[in-house]
């Protein structure tokens, strides 16, 4: 295996440099073409907002690509001095590179631990490289494996469980109360930024209707247009509250707009015991916190959602050792399988070469002794030659298999090639 993962991420490079090294479609195509043509390498370029990485694999018989050369290459593509790039690049080799990719695809190397978007980005990067013919046997085996491992990590550990952003944590809460959303109504009060973000997540649940109300009718219309909702006049707030199953409030009002008394008198009696979830994203708060009872009505504010997002992240961190251990075992399996696969041609060539040598000695010998030996004696001589050949090859082949399991058969393969004059 002659694999390298070279690149930078949020930890090794500032956003200013990552911005300069970002790959658009044209640059990706150019880079892949250059890498395959100039270095005779298989290549995949992975560019996200948090990382720029190039995965390259070359024949075992040629030198690996290292950071200085890749810094030069990136410098040519992006027009940034190599000296400004090189100090921020990291390099992972062979099994370590495979492990790095498995960790990246599983979201273990992401800013938000266990995030799932990265698996899609890895898949896209691989498919782009495939489309331009930049991948070969190693990367064609490595990337699908990385995607499979990322799926295992997410399903078999709790690393991706729950939402970890404040706005998306609202979805987790609402799913604790409701199971179907096709008959639910969302009410949006106000037009704050956090509210809009949260609404985006709630809209993914596909509620039956979105109602929007605001003191300023123009702003209400603007929010309603964004989310495909219907505007209700501000003076009908109580009606809207009585109707809505999920409320998202995000006004800039200095005092609570819904007091306990107002809710108890004008909203609760009209709800017929149906549960309601209120997300009060405003600061100062729009709803009296005493309205919350965790049964008929649940009120969550920004702090509640923030606390849940934090708890989720802490929970995910607990699953990190299990995820790392799963990745380690998958890397060992991949490297072992790859080495065994790479050993096949070497063993085939070796056996074929020794077959030729054997025949080169045995066939003339048997011709010379023709007429002097019985068929049984000829067969015995042939058998003896084969036995000698098998004994001779047993040691090297066993050593090759053994080193495959340890993930270090590349050197031995190379030595065998040289010792027995095999082709690369």
């Amino acid at each position: 295996m002659n694999l390298r993962a070279i690149g930078c991420n949020v930890e090794s490079a500032a956003v200013e440099l990552r911005e300069k090294l970002a790959f658009d479609a044209a640059k990706t195509q150019r880079a892949l073409a250059e890498l395959t043509a100039r270095f005779a390498a298989e290549a995949v370029v992975l560019g996200t907002c948090n990382r720029v990485e190039i995965y390259v694999s070359r024949q075992e018989t040629v030198a690996a690509l290292h950071v200085p050369l890749m810094a030069e290459f990136l410098s040519e593509v992006h027009g940034v001095p190599a000296s400004a790039i090189a100090p921020h690049l990291y390099e992972h080799a062979d099994a370590s590179a495979a492990k790095h990719l498995f960790r990246v695809a599983s979201g273990l190397d992401s800013v938000v631990l266990g995030e799932t978007q990265i698996a899609g980005q890895v898949k896209e990067a691989f498919e782009t490289a495939q489309k331009f013919g930049a991948t070969g046997p190693l990367l064609n085996a490595l990337f699908p494996n990385a995607l499979r491992v990322s799926k295992r990590v997410r399903t078999e550990t709790g690393i991706a469980r729950g939402h970890v952003s404040v706005s998306s944590a609202a979805v987790d809460f609402v799913q604790q109360v409701f199971s179907s959303f096709a008959d639910k109504t969302v009410l949006v009060i106000g037009a704050g930024k956090m509210g809009r973000l949260t609404l985006k997540h709630l809209a993914e649940l596909k509620p039956a209707a979105v109602l929007v109300t605001n003191r300023n009718p123009e702003r209400a219309a603007s929010v309603a247009k964004e989310c495909g909702g219907r505007v209700l006049p501000w003076d009908r707030l109580d009606d809207a509250l009585a109707q809505a199953d999920i409320v998202l409030s995000t006004t800039g009002a200095p005092e609570p707009i819904v007091t306990l008394r107002r809710y108890a008198e004008k909203v609760r009696p009209r709800r017929g015991g149906r549960p309601q979830v209120i997300f009060d994203m405003a600061v100062p708060r729009d709803f009296d916190p005493d309205i919350h009872d965790g049964d008929a009505v649940s009120v969550f504010n920004v702090d509640d959602l923030g606390r849940v997002a934090e708890a989720r992240m802490a929970e995910r961190r607990k699953h990190l050792p299990a995820a790392e251990s799963l990745i380690d075992s998958e890397v060992a399996k991949f490297v072992g399988d790859w080495n065994r696969r790479a050993n096949g041609p070497v063993i085939g060539q070796l056996t074929s070469e020794v077959d030729k040598l054997r025949d080169g000695i045995m066939v003339p010998l048997l011709a010379k002794l023709n007429g002097k030996l019985s068929d049984a004696e000829k067969a015995q001589i042939e058998q003896a030659f084969r036995l000698f050949q098998n004994k001779l090859l047993h040691g090297p082949i066993a050593a090759l298999h053994e080193s495959s399991q340890e993930g270090q058969s590349g050197g031995l393969r190379e030595a065998l090639r040289k010792l027995f004059g095999l082709q690369g």
Binding site: D172, Q176, V177, G273, D295, S298, E315
Partner: protein, 276 residues
Amino acid sequence: MSASVLQNVTHSCFALSYLCALLLELGRTFWPGKGWRVAGLAFGAAGLVAHSAFILFHQPTPAAPYGSLLLLAWVLALFYLYGTVHHAKQAWAVFVLPVVIGLVGLSLALATAPNATEFTVPEWAAGDRFWGATHGLLILGASVGISVSFLASLMYLLQARRLRKKLAPGGAVPMLSLERIETMNRRALNVAFPLLTAGLLVGTLLLSQGHVTGDNWLSLKVLTTAALWVVFLVLLYLRYGGHVPARRLALLSIAAFAILLVALVAAHPFAEGGAK
């Protein structure tokens, strides 16, 4: 399965299988992984097979506390297996299996002389026994509904507590949404009430026609079953007419289950006096 194999199946076989399934399910909540679930399901299914074999071989009568508890546990074990398969992400077994194990344990504790009250299925279905069997099966059906309602109520209270305390969703024991639990509870009660009413009517007719002897109108079984019916009536009124908070309804459903247990454990007048 040969008769000798069936004869060797005991309460311990299925109770321990259910216990293993429960422990594996608890393990899954702390260390998520496919293996726990598969192993838990295997133990649960094995327990159900052993439980079914035991019931087929011994044919306990629902007229005796021992039999009714064992049959109820069997139906709930089916409910456990169905729920675990259909709600893979929820900690279904954590709620259902303790009740199943508890019912099996209780039936074992009451199995002082099971043979004294045992009669086979064809016997109860024949002649006079037919109405006794109908009564028993209706009450058993209602018991299943009440037990499901009890489990749903427990889940509801736990889920509502989480929401009241604003705890992070999911947690160690993932559960269904309040809406889903509430639907399950409502359906269980809607099914249980007509069955209970019909069962009680058949039982009342049997008692009034003198199919049993002794002062049976005031027996604990009759009184608690009647009390259960009244609680049910109140429960249904509050649910559909009173708009009482769901938490209170859940507490009342739990009370109904407690009354059901007393009714099941109490000696049956048919078994006591001996049906004709």
